[in-house]
Symmetry: C2
Subunit: 213 residues, 2 copies
DNA sequence: CGGTGGAATCTGGTATACGATAAGGCTCAT
DNA sequence: ATGAGCCTTATCGTATACCAGATTCCACCG
């Protein structure tokens, strides 16, 4: 594995991020720093670093001397995020498949297996594994692109969790994942790009349907 | 004005970012936290928060227990950044012009005036003002898009400063800015988009020419 | 019943201490 | 000389304690 040793800041960041994503910290909620720090058993330094990063991720807003607040979800932001994904992700995945090494292929395959395994479980955390898979397809493409895609993926995840997780819409998505990975490993950029567009549009249309309800 | 009170973290972030952008902290240099903290007269907490954000911005890399290092410039990353800008910025600016309010128009006009004023000075900091202007054109478009564009703009700025700042290529760019702003204020999305594509391509081709030298 | 003047509460920040780790130098045996 | 292994040192990451200033809340007063 690449890096096993991660700083406490990193771990705190991921824990708090997960809390926000799964809704354990509701939108609009003020973030009480000492409470959370106590809960996690860390001091304010790593916590504040984590919160700062989450603000940049668009999950928190900060107001000077009043601290951080979990940002609201909105249909506007949802469209914004998915519009951005549509503009960036297909090209990014396509580009990445051209640069991917065997190591990258293995990593992506592993990510998809993990996702499929998770889907088999009754209430596995498939959303996280879904994100991991999609990001594995982008990683070889370049550092900046990857960072951007990671952020968009995380933002999208909030909406997916809220609106789509309850439904079992994983059948078709799962099949699409396999197709994408096959084309990706083959290095068929054009095919990968088309499939990815389609895949995102699928999620988006499911989402729109839910939102209009 | 929107926010006058900014935290020390924010100020530190901007100071350090500027140092990196203008090359006062060279790529590859390790960031000595206590040295910089002492120089800026701040303690480690705001400094570390700033460094964390700069890492997310793609200006620093961090290595556990070894701290932060200023990231290298590379032609690969330059193309990556400009490719991303080309994919996002024209659409973002066009979208924003449709949503812009009179207040936004005033802000953009003000940003351009400031840039032009800066250009008149013998060695003004036109690059920063250039960024401010371009960002003013994106701001009304949406929070996430704005954050993304801000990051790309900052990353691009490094390359522009290194390779283009010495040259006086500002004549044409300046004229283009006026044209863009006019169309933008008019709300002519299609025109704005085309002009922006062209403007970015102009910078990019100048950059490529320099890089190939 | 509305305004007002504290308290109480938090945040943002400082100073300081300390264990852990990485990097470089030194010793020593070969 | 040279390479292995140990030791020193610098620095990071984190914790703790503390403080000033801003915000919020509430009880009191007109």
């Amino acid at each position: 594995m690449n890096i096993v040793v991660r700083t406490l800041s990193d771990q705190t960041y991921e824990i708090v991020r997960r809390r926000i994503l799964v809704g354990a910290m509701q939108p609009g909620t003020a973030v009480r720093q000492d409470v959370i720090a106590a809960e996690l058993g860390v001091s304010k330094i790593p916590l504040r670093e984590a919160l700062g990063r989450l603000e940049q991720d668009g999950l928190l807003s900060s107001y000077p001397n009043r601290g951080y607040v979990v940002r609201d979800l909105s249909t506007d932001e949802a469209s914004e995020v998915f519009a951005l994904r549509l503009k960036l992700e297909p090209g990014a995945v396509a580009e990445a498949c051209l640069r991917a090494t065997p190591t990258d292929h293995a990593a992506a395959e592993k990510a998809l297996s993990a996702l499929e395994a998770e889907l088999a479980k009754p209430d596995g955390d498939h959303v996280s594994f879904n994100r991991a898979f999609h990001l594995a397809l982008v990683r070889p493409g370049g550092h900046i692109t990857f960072q951007l895609m990671e952020r968009l993926q995380i933002l999208a995840e909030r909406y997916v969790r809220v609106h789509l997780e309850p439904l079992g819409r994983d059948e078709r998505a799962s099949q699409e994942h396999r197709e994408i990975l096959t084309a990706w490993t083959r290095g068929d950029a054009a095919e990968v790009e088309a499939l990815t567009v389609n895949h995102i549009l699928g999620t988006l249309s499911d989402l729109k349907q839910q939102l209009s309800t």
